[in-house]
């Protein structure tokens, strides 16, 4: 397929199940945690795919499984056209230079006993690559490129702040000029003023080297800043994916609506004018996921069908994919968050029972909230 040739990463129907064993002398497998359950995604050359979801949705496991840091249970991962799902460690090693990772916690991702020079030189050492001009020069150039002082090459990680450590992690990841970098929550541990520095750095590196990112994050505002395409994950499944503009302007899945409306905007007036969808309850256990649509237990438009039938991912036009029986096509919620002129419009009149009444409804936490959905039948 010609379209595939531009794909740096192509993941099809990825599953990662973790067995749950009983205690005792002879442990038996008594269940499976379906951390990732049939995820398909792809990343195009020089582009960024944002993978968004709450904790426990399987986004980090997806990232780790793609790099084979966790063994996938089923499905395929193609890196630059090569299927790496079943390669041995030895066969995998030369391919590692094509794909690198940046981790969330810059404190644990760096060996405290190595100088940063040694940390950044590790990829050259392990891959047996001799950069032109030698490793020392290459390391100094990398430090300079990520905004650190090349004179600090002999210092240890504890001498650097969180943001600087993340820069060290980035320097290590770009050392071999990989085609793909998986960024697992790269800015969520950083202070606000530092987050913006790191996001700008990642964007500059993409412009310079044409590297692709799979950007895993929980913060929708951060993803909007950096991603070209966004996929939303919930309980091991991708529930919606589309171009960035589409997703933020015209979200279709009720979960995406809820996520977007839950992100507070740092603007007091806009905040008071926004209509909120507050989801009841918590993420169900991936050990025993709900039947049918995994989101139906918290969904505000769920109907009987959602409880029994698994929604299939379908294209709603222009590559906007959604896995929902009753996608919300009207702009009624989207406009509140993202008005026509990107300014904040007056709140739209919500249908009665459409939005959950946060406090009074919290009594229903943990139970199915289908009752509140019934009143909206005719609206959908």
């Amino acid at each position: 397929m010609p379209a595939d040739s531009e794909r740096v990463l192509d993941v099809r129907d990825l599953q990662v199940y973790f067995p749950v064993r009983s205690r005792g002398v002879f442990p038996r497998t008594i269940g499976q945690i379906k951390a990732v359950d049939g995820v398909s995604l792809h990343v195009e050359a020089g582009k960024t795919l944002g993978l968004v979801g709450e904790s426990g949705c399987g986004k980090s496991t997806t990232g780790r499984a793609i790099l084979r840091l966790t063994q996938p249970t089923a499905g395929s991962v193609e890196l630059n056209g090569t299927d790496i799902t079943n390669l041995s460690r030895r066969q995998l090693r030369p391919l590692r230079r094509e794909a690198q990772m940046i981790f969330q916690d810059p404190y644990n991702a760096l060996n405290p006993r190595q100088t940063i020079g040694s940390i950044i030189a590790a990829p050259f050492r392990i891959q047996g690559v001799e950069p032109p001009g030698g490793v020392r020069t290459a390391v100094r150039e990398l430090l300079d490129r990520v905004g650190l002082n090349p004179e600090h090459v002999n210092r240890y990680p504890n001498e650097f702040s969180g943001g600087q450590r993340q820069r060290i992690g980035i320097a290590r990841a770009i050392a071999l000029r990989p085609k793909l970098i998986i960024c697992d929550e790269p800015v969520s541990a950083l202070d606000v003023s530092i987050q913006a520095q790191i996001l700008n750095l990642l964007q500059d590196l993409q412009d310079d080297f044409g590297v692709s990112y799979l950007f895993i994050a929980h913060d929708l505002a951060v993803v909007r800043q950096i991603a070209d395409r966004v996929a939303v994950m919930y309980l091991g499944h991708i529930v919606e994916s589309s171009s960035r503009e589409e997703l933020y302007k015209r979200p279709l899945h009720p979960y995406t609506h809820a996520l977007l409306s839950a992100v507070p905007i740092p603007d007091p007036e806009a905040q008071t004018q926004r209509e909120r969808i507050v989801l009841g309850g918590d993420l169900p256990s991936p050990l025993n996921p709900p039947s049918g649509c995994v989101f139906h237990t918290r969904c505000f438009v769920a109907q009987d069908r959602c409880r029994t039938e698994v929604p299939i991912m379908r294209d709603m036009g222009q590559g906007h994919l959604v896995a929902c029986h009753f996608p919300i096509e009207e702009q009624r919620i989207g406009e509140v968050i993202h008005g026509p002129d990107s300014g904040l419009t007056a709140p739209l009149e919500p249908e009665p029972g459409y939005f959950s009444e946060s406090i009074t409804d919290l009594g229903a936490v943990g139970t199915t909230r289908l009752d509140s959905a019934n009143s909206t039948d005719e609206g959908i």
Binding site: A196, A262, P264, P266, A270, L279, I337, H338, L362, V365
Partner: protein
């Protein structure tokens, strides 16, 4: 405006460490009126959590040097001895922490922990305390509180645990509640639940609330007044509208400009504050923000490097710690240069 319910005057907290004296809070002053919500905003190491701990009397005098005044409803909390402050804590003032899992004891049922909070401060029967605990859990939206009260913390999700913490903090109907990053450890959808719950409960009880956070979005949701801290100092204080729409301190301006927002023009590149937050052991001379400040050249001479600016009034009830403010004042009085 009513008389201040809580008054913090020139609070200073420093810790002696092997590397030197850490000036965690270095002259922080602010007031909170009864029933209002004050947000203390700042990045890590700005002194916001230490300020809260000093107010609550949670800092050990052995490790920390504390000076200044914390006046709650007329009495100076810093002058009280340990027993006296223990009687206040949990009764007249309470605190919610960031991580509910490490704030709840894993070996005790939540009911035991809630009833203990009641019985420490009030002479009530076990049964009465248990009923209060059930009521408290119901009020924070925990379903089937009669059953949940016998759960252990590990049986609850993160959002539920934070609700339990809120229930415990409110169980003796405190007049002052301090919430230290109450939603930071939670997912956005759960964060929205907890924010709404706190706003609603405050409306019902009229508790004075101090919320400590780095999240400018959460602040916009909850606060009446905002206090911005940097390098152990209050650098700006004002009503929420003053601080968000008319920020006077370049640090506040930079902070607001560097946050990615859902409603902004995405194609605009983010405008970060350059550099890193200062070390509290070795603070910069003059204005603590000067090494990162983009507006330094607007100030005449090298005042920013040599002299620490005072917290000056920009407008009624809106103060900022910046030489630019003083300069504007001077120009108003003496005319432009």
């Amino acid at each position: 405006m009513s008389a201040p319910f809580l008054e913090v005057n020139d609070l200073r907290v420093s810790f002696r460490t092997e590397d030197g004296v850490v000036r965690a809070v270095d002259g922080s002053s602010f007031n909170v009126a009864q029933g209002e919500t004050l947000a203390i905003v700042g990045e890590s190491g700005s002194g916001k959590s230490v300020t809260a701990q000093a107010i609550m009397g949670l800092l050990s005098r052995r490790s920390a040097d504390i000076s200044g005044q914390v006046v709650l409803d007329g009495s100076d909390l810093l002058a009280l001895d340990d027993d006296e402050i223990r009687r206040l804590r949990g009764a007249r003032m309470a605190m919610i922490f960031q991580d509910p899992l490490s704030s709840l004891h894993p070996f005790y049922r939540i009911g035991d922990q809630l009833t203990e909070a009641v019985r420490v401060h009030r002479k009530v029967s076990r049964k009465e305390a248990r009923n209060r605990a059930i009521d408290g859990l119901r009020r924070v939206g925990i379903p089937a509180p009669e059953q949940r009260i016998d759960d252990y913390p590990h049986q609850l999700s993160g959002g539920m645990r934070q609700r339990v913490m809120i229930a415990m903090a409110l169980i003796n109907e405190p007049q002052l509640l301090i919430a230290d990053e109450p939603t930071t450890a939670l997912d956005v959808t759960v964060q929205a639940q907890i924010t709404e719950l706190m706003v609603e409960l405050q409306k019902q009880t009229g508790t004075t609330l101090i919320i400590i956070t780095h999240d400018l979005g959460v602040v916009a949701d909850m606060a009446d007044h905002v206090c911005v801290m940097y390098g152990g100092r209050v650098v700006e204080y004002g009503s929420i509208d003053d601080v968000y729409y008319r920020p006077a301190m370049p640090y506040t301006q930079g902070l607001l400009a560097s946050v990615p927002r859902l409603d902004s023009d995405r194609n605009a590149r983010l405008d970060p504050i350059p550099g890193n937050p200062p070390s509290l052991i070795n603070l910069p001379s003059g204005c603590v923000f000067h090494p990162r400040c983009g507006r330094r050249d607007e100030v005449r001479g090298d005042l920013c490097v040599t002299t620490e600016p005072e917290l000056l009034e920009v407008a009624a009830g809106h103060t900022a710690r910046c030489h630019l403010t003083a300069q504007v004042h001077a120009e108003e009085v003496f005319g432009a240069r």
